[in-house]
């Protein structure tokens, strides 16, 4: 079995020249691995190089240096073969404003011999009733839906969504999430770049986080979040002073937060409960503060430095 990732970049670098001829580094030595199958989140703050990377993956930009392999094809010589198996939305959906949604989709479908799929896909993304209307009359959400439909025309092995839920209402966000999950469950690989971390956490299996064009973390979402799960237990007790002293004697870092104590470095919250009971301090409430992807993201993007928990792509 071929264990090559769906996407593998090595030493990818891309710079731009500003009007003042100053060199701006968009991507700097990026080593990105996107495993085959599942949803892979591609995260980073604005200007981190996500879209530039995606554009290079699709041959829309040429890297200054580095290599890209997509679905087993080296892009330097196999762009056509690779892109034939990739569906993608890059940045905003882009279609002809004066054409209807159906015509826009039909023109793309003709190029890949998929005209028979047009009506089914329009129905799948909820645009069947408005398919005959001009694209310029569509709301942003409808434009996104049409773009999602276009990515599915090629029956792709790899689907790349760049901010796919921008402008969508909650139902639309749910639909896109469902589509992404369904694609992944069908064995396809989904690469999604998004700022909506809560959404991504719900659907992504693996994640790569880039800052300043460099990879700062990648791996399974659960591993990445779990690697930062140690230590955060918030406990409300009857005697904070005595409770705090008992916990500190156990070797944990304790700080007061009002009447509550925040205990850090805890492997298992049951230990906290046991130490307090031994000290004769009763617990009113105990909450394990588990970080989410957003906290991990903020921590990583605020303090660059590669963190590579074990897991796919590492």
């Amino acid at each position: 079995m071929n264990d090559e990732p769906a996407i593998r970049t090595r030493g990818l670098r891309k710079t731009y020249r500003s009007f003042t001829l100053r060199e701006v580094v968009a991507v700097e030595g990026l080593d990105l691995d996107v495993p085959v199958g599942g949803v892979h989140a591609f995260l980073g703050p604005n200007g981190a190089g996500k879209t530039t990377t995606i554009r290079m993956l699709l041959g829309l930009e040429r890297p200054d240096s580095g290599s890209i392999r997509v679905l087993g094809h080296d892009l330097s010589g196999g762009l056509e073969a690779a892109v034939a198996k990739v569906g993608a939305i890059v940045e905003q959906p882009r279609f002809y404003p004066a054409f209807s949604g159906r015509r826009n989709l039909s023109l793309l479908a003709q190029s890949v011999g998929a005209e028979a799929k047009v009506d089914g896909l329009l129905a799948q993304v909820g645009l069947a009733d408005r398919a005959g209307d001009r694209y310029r009359s569509y709301s942003l959400g409808m434009k996104q839906r049409l773009a999602v439909a276009s990515t599915l025309l090629k029956d792709p092995e790899l689907v790349i969504f760049d901010e796919p839920t921008n402008g969508l209402d909650p139902a639309g966000v749910h639909d896109v999430r469902t589509i992404m999950r369904a694609l992944a469950d069908a064995g396809r690989t989904v690469l999604v770049s998004s700022h909506m971390l809560a959404e991504v956490e719900q659907v992504a299996d693996t994640v790569s986080i880039v800052v300043g064009g460099r990879l700062v973390a990648d791996g399974r979402v659960a591993d990445l979040v779990g690697s930062r799960a140690r230590g955060a237990v918030r406990v409300d007790v009857t005697d904070p002073v005595r409770g705090g002293e008992a916990l500190e004697r156990r070797g944990w870092a304790v700080r007061r937060d009002g009447e509550a104590l925040v205990v850090e470095g805890v492997d298992d919250p049951v230990e906290v409960s046991r130490v307090l009971a031994d000290a004769g301090v009763y617990v009113r409430e105990l909450v394990a503060e588990r970080p989410d992807l957003e906290q991990v993201f903020l921590e990583l993007t605020g303090a660059p430095g590669a963190v590579r928990p074990q897991g796919v792509g590492a």
């Binding site: 554009r55 699709l58 041959g59 829309l60 930009e61 040429r62 762009l79 056509e80 892109v83 990739v86 569906g87 993608a88 890059v90 905003q92 959906p93 882009r94 279609f95 002809y96 404003p97 004066a98 054409f99 015509r103 023109l107 793309l108 003709q110 190029s111 890949v112 011999g113 276009s150 025309l153 090629k154």
Partner: protein
Amino acid sequence: MTLLRVELERFRCRPVLWLVAGLLLLASAGFVAMAWSGTAPPSAAQVAEGTEAYEAAVVRFEGVKDRILEQCREDESAGAGPAGDCLASYAPELRSYLPPPPWFPAEVGDATTGLTLPILLAALAMGVSFVTAEFGARTMSTWLTFAPRRSRVFASKSAAAALGALPAALAALGLAIGGIALVFVVRGAAIEGDGAWSTPLSTVARLLPAAVVAALLGAGLAFAVRHAAAVAGIVVWWALAVEFTLPQVVPRLAPATLGLNLRAWLEGGATYSVTDCGPDPDVAGAELCHDVDRIVGSAQGGLVLLLAAAAVLAIGALVFRRRAVT
């Protein structure tokens, strides 16, 4: 071929291109209307005025007839033609004082000459608009995710621009020539004369390839600069700096202008003047200059137009291949 088919479909669906074609047909209809007006039989007032002028000329002729006859006899004895024919040639004729009857080759020639610039500009605009719209709407990046080979996208889009402009040019010429012919039939005027049909057909045969070249030039420029306004700026600059100013400043470079070569291609040749100077044989140390007409042949004109289109397409292709598409 798949890409070309899609591009032609895309061309067919663009309302702006239909608008350009519509304006072109409107211009053709204008020439048909002018032909209708120009072939109208003379009005009673025109006939009365012409007859009056004719009768006055007859009176004047009768007054000088003897002197003319005498002169004709002298000429006859000197070996010229018969004096009777000579006299008759001086006699006024009524038809000379009435509006001339319509002449089909002239009417069609006026129409095709008048339509040349609109057809070429329309073809250029179609080529430009077809490509820049894709960059303007930023749909090119979407298209490249379906057709990633830029050389193929470039070739199919340029070919579609050229093939798409062709029917519009053909329809405009067909409407003008067919319309004028119909006008002659309705008016009961004769469609005859030297080259009644061969001249317009020859014009069509030369104008259609020129329209294709114009569309290709437009597409090439659009791929190179990506904005319709930028293309318009280049075209205006070229017209002012190269087509208008250059031949005046350096007349020998006139053959480098597209206008002269286009005229040579369409009209079977074109001339331009250069000033030739040499030592004056009569005055030592002085120069003698005179204007000399030089000819640009039809084949040379066509070749220069083709080379210009090829150069612009090559630049467009290079820029499209190298530059990122947003």
